[in-house]
Symmetry: D2
Subunit: 299 residues, 4 copies
């Protein structure tokens, strides 16, 4: 196994690092929060007080950061670590960032003879803890093969989407479509309810018909149709509205750059934006269902 | 088996009647087109020159007509057949019409001591010929049970959606959602392509992720991702854009009546309307995919 | 002056009748509410206990009713008054109803040798009281000329939009566009505010630029930019959200009938529908402005 | 009068510079195209072969460039001119760029003791030639006053929108609203036409009613309603679809940055994007009207 550094031990990165440690990987870790480092050290990691030291003498770096600027700064900024990495080192950036930042990173690192994969994940904090994340990877097929072992310690599905940036694009296309499925399924269910149909009956019919989609299968937005989903738990847990809004902002950036026309995704983004403006930013994204119900009736 | 009349032998009704005849049902048939009657007679039906005669001495009537006004006229119009039917006869109307017409029909027929089910189908002409239609039924559970035998001769999936009109509502909710899935999947795939990704790779990733939906599973709108689908055959065959537009018009009527807010379905309807205005009304509905591609590149 | 009957003395019809009386017209009146009749009588009208009696011996009938079914029922229903009217009488229906109902009415009345104009109004209760309504009229040019005198007693702007039903179509096209102007202006102003601009400065700039429109001129949706508008009075008074929703429903019916594609109007309708679902149905329609503000900031 | 440098002599900048020369201003000019410099010199300017030389010994710089990156590069790039400007010089950047770039520029220039205004224009090439542009200016009120003289030589309307970046925001809000007005007016007119109304009659009615807006006043999108507008000249001239798309892209950037929800503007952008994809990028933006007509009828 490679000597590995893990930078960024937040809600996602923390449990991901723990799964690597469980799988026997030796980890050098760094985070801006000392408490996050301490917790990783308790699970067997070696902690460092800055990123440069953390990556010295490793040949694989994994990063999990909030946005493109943080990623670019970590590797290429004034105190960036890229210049300290051994030639031919592999970097796996698991952050969900704009694909143009991933492409820019790859271009700069190539000049330094470093290899990089963009490897954004889906599956949320639950998947990070359970080690069941999905990794959607952009970069060379060769590097993807090399990364499989370490990614397998953190996730169960590994996709190679294409060249640099393609991991970001694929994730964001998927999540844009997901927002469309969720909003479209919600309004269809509510229209059925408004006409006197039972939400469970309607869901079952659509599940077995051409309206079938992931939200009906495992994440029904109408309360009490499925058990153990956020909608049956007052929309707690799951994937927050504001995280969906972050991804839909990235989708918009991507569409603007590629001159793509995405009316359905744009409208879903408008609906999620309005939903957040109304104070629902921290609830599960299936709570968009409530937007279609008549609030007047409740009074 | 009941003595049965079948009214309306068009593209859908014709093959449905043939499947009933194959299954051993005795059928009295009528259609406004003599040729359609002749064809059914060749398959063993007894032809009549008007609807009133066709339904005399039967205790089950099946109808398959284009729109609500035709259905209301057949049963309740000036020469309507309702008054000629024996008390307690069962009517199965398989037409896709506005749910308010189905409800109105049921109310009037109840006054005449007649029973009715609205039983719109999905599956298209192909399903009608193969006897693999889906029936989505509204009316009493008792009548639904009684209808199962005869419906099974024409279809493989039978759903009881709820009371009168619920069959129409459920079908139209499903098809509205389908239009959203198709448009949303199309734009997501095109955005991936615009960013250099392979359509098949992107489709596979979404199929195994939260973007999964019926169109990716069996009806991919991007040419040459799936075999034997309309998109791989120049969008020939399948479900025509103008039929989707008809269903989306019914969805709009339904939403207006129930004061339901359906922004995603409305936008999908706008896209399909524009697509038809551009001359694509007779192509398969997955051809909406072409709307998102850059036509300038073709020149 | 003609002997005139006025049917329908509600919020709009009541003050319209009073203005006719003020102008010296002799009015026979009827309403389902006795109190409304009594009030008109106090202003000089002659009250009747049913519509048939009210229209006997008049040669002009004006009606102001809520929906197409009421209008069709008044003239053509079981106790309809059309058969009691003298040949060549003129009917001016000021109700805002679906244009197909206006056309249907005109066709039936022509068979009875009666003349009719559809003459929906804009200007609201305020305009009805002040006698400053706008009438948008469909029917023959000859009948429009004849109607001018009586309409002038109730309004200041008289438009001849075209043949039967054109009055309804023109009003509904205008109001659909108005909903687009109001929603579009609201979101543009809020985006300026979100970026630190002053709403009044931004309004002034757009008023003098290509964004100029009626809402900026006389009905600014942002509080305290204009005086004496609903937005500066907690969105009280003016034109209620639910009345806009009624008109947008008529617009949708019209578009469905003529196979017109109206994406902007449909989206405005979705926004107004959502706004109403949130409990704003009885506020002025410029309150849509609040939909674009961040409700989280208020807490 | 100040000694002034003018950088960027394209379709807009060229005629703007000529108007300054006509008004007696002494101009040092630079452009990447030698031909553009030559043309300005013919009108009395002094040409330079690079920007640094052009701005030496001037105390006012005007720039007109395509995008934010060009502006930032001109002033702050490797060979940027900011460091060569005399303390307290005034810069008027007339480019239409993202407001965040204008803000960034202002912040950097302040550190160098330079003053700057963002002053994007509207009025197009025609307005640039005629000297009738509108300037929408962001920056200090003091600097705005100082700029009035020189701006008056190029335009007739000068607005002070607010602090740095506010000029860009105000222009982009206006143009986003304009796209909404144009699309909304187009679909309303087409719906009227689809129902048999005359486009001119409908336009006149809306002009005098609550649908009134700039497009109906001076830029009717329906051919032959107004004379001397692009729609009456096969949509030639005027403001190109792809320029509207550029502005709508800036609007989207602005909305993303300020977390503003702009559903109407987003939908207008989708329509304009689709219109461009269909090959209409170089036609006047009022050609969006054609999107709502039935292309099937033409065959």
């Amino acid at each position: 196994m490679k000597k590995t550094a893990f930078i960024g031990l937040g809600n996602m990165g923390g449990p991901m690092a723990q799964n690597l440690l469980k799988a026997g990987h030796q980890l050098h870790v760094f985070d801006l929060q000392q408490a996050a480092i301490d917790q990783a050290v308790q699970h067997g990691a070696i902690g460092f007080s800055n990123a440069v030291e953390a990556v010295s003498q490793v040949d694989l770096v994994i990063s999990m950061l909030p946005a493109g600027k943080h990623v670019l700064d970590l590797y290429l900024g004034e105190n960036g670590i890229a210049k300290d990495l051994a030639k031919d080192s592999l970097i796996i950036d698991c952050s969900t960032i704009d694909s143009s930042a991933s492409v820019q990173l790859a271009e700069q690192l190539r000049l330094l003879n470093l290899r990089v994969l963009d490897a954004p994940v889906s599956g949320g904090v639950g998947g990070a803890k359970a080690g069941t994340l999905t990794f959607i990877v952009g970069g060379s097929a060769y590097d993807f093969e090399e990364a499989k072992e370490v990614l397998s310690a953190m996730g169960t599905k590994l996709f190679h989407a294409g060249s640099h940036g393609a991991g970001q694009v694929a994730k964001i296309c998927n999540n844009m479509l997901l927002s469309v499925l969720m909003a479209g399924t919600s309004e269809a269910l509510q229209m059925a309810i408004d006409n006197g149909l039972d939400a469970k009956v309607m869901s079952d019919i659509m599940l077995q018909s051409s309206g079938r989609n992931w939200t009906l299968e495992v994440y029904n937005p109408c309360p009490n149709v499925l058990e153990n989903v956020p909608s049956s738990n007052d929309y707690q847990g799951g994937f927050m509205v504001d995280l969906m809004n972050k991804d839909l902002g990235l989708a918009k950036d991507t569409a603007l750059n590629s001159h793509s026309n995405t009316p359905m995704g744009d409208l879903a983004r408008n609906l999620y934006s309005e939903h957040s403006l109304q104070g629902n930013g921290h609830r599960d994204f299936s709570s968009i269902f409530e937007m279609f119900a008549d609030k007047n009736e409740k009074e």
